[in-house]
Subunit: 153 residues, 2 copies
DNA sequence: TATAGAATTGACGTAAACGTAAGGGTGCAG
DNA sequence: CTGCACCCTTACGTTTACGTCAATTCTATA
C-alpha cells in the first residue's frame, strides 16, 4: 500500500492515490514544510497532540494533522505549554458547537495574556536596570585611574 | 568562638564581637534579609559565588558576602546565568583597576541587553498573535449557532 | 534535662521540550 | 548487490536553579 515513494515525493504534491486528494505526506516532508524536526513530530505524537495514519510503520500525515500542527505551533509561539495546547485541542468535537472548547481556550488565553504582559514588564525592568548598570560601568571605565568604587568583592 | 546566637540575632545588628564592626550573620538571617532560601545560599556557595567564613561548620556571612549576593541578585534579575555572574565576579581584584572585569561585564551586558530586546520583541509578537486569536474566538462564541469554521481537528 | 529551633551534609527529584545515539528495516537507482 | 535516502523504536542526555527529603548535630532556653 505504498503511497509516496521517496524519489517522487517532490513531484507528488497532488497525487490522488487512495481517496480523493487526501494529500498524505511522510514525516520528512511534514517536518520540512513546517520547520520542525522529525523528533519534534514524533514527540508531539507521543504526547497525544498528533495522530498520523500509518502505512505499516511509516507515519502518514493528513490535512487534519497539518491543521493541528499549525495550532500547536501557534500555541507554542504565544507561550502555551504543550499540555495546555493538548487540553484545548482535546475538547474539539467535529459534531458540536464547541462552546466548551472555545470557552476554555478563551480562559486560558486570558491568563496567558496576563502572563505575557507580566513578562514584558519584567523584561522592561531588566532592560532598565541593565542599562543603568552599563552606564555605571562605562563611567568607571572612563575613570580608570581614579579611586575604585568597583563592582564586586 | 560564638559570634551571633539565634536568640539575640535580631538585636544584634551592630555587635562588635571579634574585629571592628564585622557584622557577621548566619545563613538564616542572611536568607531573610535578601529574600532567598537557605538552599539558594548554599547552592551559590557550592557554585563558587559566595564564600562565607565558618565558625565550626556554621556559615558566617560577611559584608563582602552581602555585596556579592546583591550583585548575584541583580545579575539574576537582568537575566544573567549564574555562570556569567561568576565569570564576571571572578575577575575582581581588590588591588587593581579591574579594567578587565569591567570590560567583560560591559561586553556581556551588551549581549544580554540584545537578548532582552529580542525577547521583548518576541513577547510583543506573542501578545499580538494571542490578542488576535482571542478576538477570533470571541467572534465564534458570539456566533455559536452559525456554521463552525472552528479551531481544531 | 527536655525540647524546640537553627544548622550541617548528602543526594535524589523537577520541569519542558526536545537532542542524540544506538541498532535495525525498506526500497529503489545504478 | 551496493549504497543511499528515508523511516522506525528505545532510551538516556541536556539545561538551570534550585526543591525536598533524610539523618544528624548543636545550642539556647524553659
Amino acid at each position: 500500500m505504498k503511497l509516496v515513494s521517496p524519489g517522487e515525493a517532490a513531484a507528488n504534491t497532488n497525487d490522488m492515490s487512495d481517496k480523493a486528494g487526501e494529500d498524505l505526506v511522510r514525516i520528512g516532508e511534514m517536518a520540512k514544510k513546517y520547520g520542525v524536526t522529525l523528533r519534534t513530530l514524533r514527540f508531539y505524537e507521543d504526547k497525544g497532540l498528533l495522530n498520523p495514519q500509518r502505512d505499516g510503520s511509516t507515519r502518514l500525515y493528513t490535512r487534519r494533522d497539518k491543521a493541528r500542527l499549525k495550532l500547536i505551533l501557534l500555541g507554542r509561539k504565544v507561550g502555551f505549554s504543550l499540555r495546555d495546547v493538548k487540553q484545548m485541542m482535546d475538547l474539539y468535537d467535529p459534531s458540536g458547537s464547541n462552546t466548551k472548547q472555545l470557552r476554555l481556550t478563551l480562559d486560558k488565553s486570558e491568563k496567558q495574556l496576563a502572563r505575557l504582559q507580566k513578562q514584558r514588564a519584567l523584561i522592561d525592568d531588566a532592560i532598565n536596570e541593565l542599562s543603568n548598570s552599563m552606564a555605571a560601568v562605562r563611567q568607571m571605565l572612563s575613570e580608570r585611574s581614579a579611586p575604585q568604587a568597583s563592582v564586586a568583592g
